[in-house]
């Protein structure tokens, strides 16, 4: 009975969330309130979403021109030292029009990046490629949308798994409450991913990393499906970092056999041994590379598809009318969002699975004959 209720609840939650996603999209109108139908403008909107930004932007009221959302702290290192202020100081401007003066430093926001104006410049000038001429980038430690997402995920994981761990510490063999959901997942990662790939002898050492990376990616992927528009695992910097963790863990836990197979492959002629060295070294590097590209491209592609289907509501309006185009867009978005929920899990699973496979290859003990 409880299970049935919760399934109903989750289904209606998904329904509501995806309808909010359609409604929350402000892609339909540009700043002046004109209708937007051209592919270029939709593309621009899509690219803007895929990038990180300094505030949460939910929608814009075209009649009054006010934007709804909430600001995030900006922390930048300028020539005048460390400056902190809320991103609301920029008034949702992204074209370098609003200049924020903090001491000596004058800051503008241009294409989601913060620039500092050079001495004597009164406004930001752009060359034909839209690069700023009289301003330079500052060291930006801001709590951007992605950083906020990562911190939220960290906090969620700390609370959820802290609760699970405390339960075990008290000597309870059966977890209670939300921990009951987490235990099977932890067991799943251990028994289906770590154990068969790394081997009975070594898997315990790597469980911490594998569990962290699995839940981190999964929760962030799911956050990306909410209307807040997180796109954390679709930022290549994040996936590079995650793949580097795997890379270093593999290299540092690699045993003698692992290195021998790279630099002096046993069982082949000497010339072949030398020829195999560059290939094996390349293989060592392509493994984390494929990990990072896969996660990044999957999530980016997923978001782009959702954005594109939302844009259907605007591009097909003249043919189908307002209710028809919104209906079509809504159904397509709902459908692809459901697939994205599956992809969110699958990508977390694949990343963890391949990480453990690579670790398993590095720690595997060969029988010497």
């Amino acid at each position: 009975m409880v299970a049935k209720k919760s399934i109903k609840f989750i289904a209606s939650l998904i329904f509501v969330l995806s309808s909010i996603t359609v409604l929350a999209s402000d892609g339909g109108h540009d700043k002046k309130g004109d209708l937007v139908d051209t592919p270029e403008e939709i593309n621009e909107y899509k690219n803007h979403h895929l990038k990180d930004s300094h505030d949460f932007h939910l929608f814009t009221n075209n009649a009054s021109g006010t934007s709804y959302g909430f600001p995030l702290p900006v922390i930048v290192w300028t020539k005048d030292g460390l400056k902190t202020f809320m991103s609301s100081a920029f008034h949702h401007d992204d074209n370098g029009d609003v200049i924020v003066e903090k001491g000596e430093a004058r800051l503008v926001k241009l294409h989601s990046k913060i620039y500092e104006l050079e001495d004597g410049a009164t406004s930001v000038n752009l060359d034909k490629d839209h690069h700023a001429i009289n301003a330079h980038r500052v060291l930006d430690f801001s709590i951007t949308k992605s950083v906020f997402g990562i911190l939220t995920t960290g906090l969620l994981m700390l609370l959820a798994f802290g609760g699970l761990a405390r339960g075990y510490k008290k000597g309870k063999t059966i977890p209670t409450g939300f921990s009951r959901v987490l235990e099977p997942l932890v067991i799943y990662v251990r028994d289906e991913i770590a154990r068969p790939n790394i081997g009975e002898k070594h898997y315990r050492r790597f469980m911490g990393f594998l569990l962290t990376v699995f839940f981190f990616i999964w929760i962030l992927n799911l956050l990306g499906l909410t209307p807040f528009g997180f796109n954390v695992t679709g930022q290549i910097a994040v996936t590079v970092c995650l793949a580097l963790f795997t890379f270093f863990i593999v290299q540092f836990s690699g045993n003698k056999d692992y290195w021998k197979h790279i630099f002096w492959m046993p069982g082949v002629p000497v010339l072949m041994k030398i020829a195999l060295i560059p290939i094996e070294v390349l293989g060592m590097l392509t493994k984390p590379f494929s990990l990072l590209i896969r996660l990044f491209a999957n999530i980016t592609a997923g978001h782009a598809v959702v954005m594109g289907l939302i844009a259907v509501a605007y591009t097909s309006r003249e043919v189908l009318g307002v209710p028809g185009s919104f209906g079509v867009s809504f159904l397509l978005t709902l459908f692809i969002s459901l697939i994205e929920i599956l992809v969110a899990f699958l990508q977390a699973f694949i990343f963890t699975m391949l990480s453990s496979l690579f670790i398993g290859m590095a720690v595997e003990e060969h029988d010497h004959h």
Binding site: E192, P196, F289, S290, L291, I293, R294, A297, N298, A301, L346, F349, I350, M353, L354, L357
Partner: protein, 63 residues
């Protein structure tokens, strides 16, 4: 324009590859249902490797 044709070719190649993997896995599972779990895991790994290749090509094509 050319990168769109390239993207199409990549998707065709990836589709053929995924079809092969999926089809053979189905055959394997039908022949030995008790090994379904292991076959599925292996299938997903190969699928992921293929996907990495295709996505890598797509991203290089876009750049």
């Amino acid at each position: 324009m050319y990168n769109l044709i390239g993207a199409g070719l990549i998707v065709i190649g990836g589709g053929i590859g995924l079809g092969q993997i999926g089809g053979k896995a189905m055959e394997g599972i039908a022949r030995q249902p008790e090994a379904a779990g292991k076959i599925q895991t292996a299938m997903i790994i190969i699928g992921a490797l293929l996907e990495g290749l295709a996505f890598g090509a797509l991203i290089l094509g876009k750049a």
